[in-house]
């Protein structure tokens, strides 16, 4: 018997977001510290360490080359960790969703709330990272203001990707595949550490279809104030994937939790 899946409601989704925020508020001081150490270590190790050998990349100091991309990858890790492991535990072990779904909150509302929260966690990661970059004197210009909405949107995009994977799996161990076979290659081959133009054309084409690449290019453009129509292209790609994936993942979670 088919029924109309109820429409997703932003207000109900925000209730779920609020629940996560209430939990986070309790431990945020403990939670947030590593978000500052991580960029620091990356910049020291890769930027200054590796940078001692690679003095220049595409006409800029190596540390300046990698920083905008690392910022985006930190959003990626933050948002996907939230909508993979954390959502899986709430859904299957802690039975948090059993409690939530017996209230007027429906599965699609719940999914959207988790996406908002994943984007929020991504934003927290990204903002911490950005603040360290500012300390290193990078990105100190007015154009950088554009990066803030981008951080949230890119966080949202990665939240949808993580949640989609979570909606498909039944065993928590399968996340290892997601992280090692999907996110790690993205991390390494999306132009964060070296320009993709050096790689064969086939790799460049593959890269175009991956989400991190567009985020990295967008971020680097904003940091270096290279304003061009390509930036709009990357932005459109990100918005397109995010919208499409949101529709898919809301349906997937509805199917998973209403059966």
């Amino acid at each position: 018997m088919r029924n109309k899946a109820p429409r997703v409601r932003v207000r109900a989704a925000l209730r779920v977001w609020q629940r996560n925020a209430t939990v986070y508020k309790r431990t945020w001081k403990l939670n947030i510290l590593p978000n500052f150490f991580e960029p620091f270590l990356y910049l020291l190790g890769m930027g200054l360490g590796l940078g001692a050998y690679i003095t220049e990349m595409e006409g800029m100091p190596y540390i300046n080359f990698i920083a905008p991309g690392l910022l985006i990858s930190s959003i990626m890790w933050g948002a996907t960790l939230e909508t993979t492991y954390n959502v899986f535990v709430k859904m299957n072990f802690d039975r948090i969703y059993d409690g939530i779904l017996s209230t007027p909150i429906n599965p699609k509302d719940l999914a959207l709330g988790e996406l908002f929260w994943g984007a929020t966690r991504g934003t927290i990661y990204g903002s911490a990272f950005l603040s360290i970059l500012f300390l290193f004197g990078m990105g100190l210009h007015w154009g950088i203001l554009l990066i803030f909405p981008m951080i949230f949107i890119i966080g949202f995009m990665f939240a949808t990707i993580g949640l989609l994977f979570t909606s498909m799996i039944k065993e928590i161990e399968l996340f290892n595949y997601f992280f090692t076979l999907f996110l790690t290659p993205l991390f390494l081959f999306s132009g964060i550490f070296f320009p993709l133009s050096q790689l064969p054309q086939a790799v460049q084409i593959i890269a175009w279809f991956t989400p991190l690449y567009h985020g990295v290019e967008l971020s680097r453009g904003i940091f270096n104030q290279v304003w061009g129509v390509e930036l709009l292209g990357h932005f459109a790609w990100i918005i397109g994937l995010t919208l499409l994936n949101t529709l898919v993942v809301l349906r997937a979670i509805h199917k998973r939790l209403y059966n």
């Binding site: 018997m1 409690g99 209230t103 007027p104």
Partner: protein, 326 residues
């Protein structure tokens, strides 16, 4: 004068109608998982302000029925209305009027006691003031004052169950669903939960529970549906079930099979009927005292000989030929 009388009648009629219109109606309600018919075309009606119980062994379909009522499982076929709303059309409206206590504890272990209530209140869009007032009332009603700021982990089993019931009541639902409310609780905690349930019924809440404990069903329910393998086998008040399906008393005998058979042969014309189980013999009778004395006088060695009132468990055994506890 005539007019007043008429409107008085009308008031009486509407009161009567309101209290006799079912709050939950199921027609040919079915749920299929693959080839398994978990719930098979069942019908039932639940009147407001009563306690209705689904009784049956694990796998009978009780929990599936509950899940369809509170809209976390879609129907395969049939029709189910709750508070006048079709569960397949208006999920949120249906859920707004129901409080749910799931079988497995679904409390939020990332939050303390009071925040479990306050965060839950948000899901119903209660304002902060409403939520705080209601949470305080519930904490008092369920005697959890001392645990107010504590982590849920530190609560005993009985307290957790009480908190779960409190949480289910945060939006003042007209229907409270309890899926095996006293499973896993010690006797004292069970009685506490039951007494709270009685208070809720008095306040006009409609209670809907599943259980495989006979004493629980007898204690709480106005009406019971006995379920087995997706069907409702029978539906009546606990006492009517016992009266109509079995005799008022049972004499229960444990001992070796030869001894049991010998006794059965000797008394078979003095009893209403019997059940011969793998480990014991049940003799149903209207009057246990003479039968008990008679068996004692026979001087056949048995392990135990006891007389007791018949229970719903006996009803279940009679109806399905199987023991309820599995």
């Amino acid at each position: 004068m005539g007019n007043e009388f008429f409107s008085f009648c009308e008031f009486g009629l509407s009161w009567f109608m309101e209290n006799s219109t079912p709050i939950i109606t199921a027609q040919k309600l079915s749920k299929t998982y693959g080839s398994l018919k978990a719930v098979n075309a069942i019908n039932f009606e639940i009147l407001p302000g009563t306690c209705y119980g689904f009784l049956g062994p694990n796998g009978a379909g009780k929990t599936t029925v509950m899940r369809m009522i509170y809209c976390v499982t879609p129907l395969t076929s049939g029709r189910l209305t709750v508070n006048g709303e079709n569960v397949m059309e208006n999920m949120s409206a249906v859920k707004r009027g129901i409080g749910v206590v799931t079988q497995d504890d679904s409390l939020d272990y990332d939050l303390n006691v009071i925040n479990n209530l306050l965060v839950y209140a948000r899901y119903y869009d209660l304002t902060r003031e409403q939520a705080v007032r209601r949470a305080d009332e519930l904490i008092e009603f369920f005697q959890l004052e001392e645990k107010r700021g504590e982590n849920v982990r530190t609560l005993s089993g009985g307290m957790k169950r009480r908190l779960q019931i409190a949480r289910a009541l945060i939006n003042k639902p007209s229907i409270l669903i309890l899926d095996e409310p006293s499973t896993g609780l010690d006797p004292q905690a069970r009685h506490h939960v039951w007494s709270k349930c009685h208070e809720l019924i008095e306040q006009g809440v409609t209670l809907l529970l599943t259980t495989h404990y006979m004493d629980e069903a007898e204690q709480l329910c106005d009406k019971i549906a006995v379920m087995d393998r997706g069907h409702i086998i029978t539906e009546a008040s606990p006492w009517d079930l016992i009266k109509s399906e079995v005799s008022p008393y049972v004499v229960e005998i444990r001992g070796d099979e030869a001894a049991r058979n010998k006794i059965l042969k000797a008394v078979v014309d003095q009893i209403d009927f019997h059940e011969a189980l793998s480990d014991r013999l049940l003799l149903y009778t209207a009057d246990a005292i003479p039968l008990h004395a008679h068996i004692q006088d026979m001087d056949i060695p048995v392990k135990t000989l006891l007389s007791r009132r018949s229970s719903l468990e006996d009803v279940f055994l009679k109806l399905t030929g199987r023991e309820l506890i599995d």
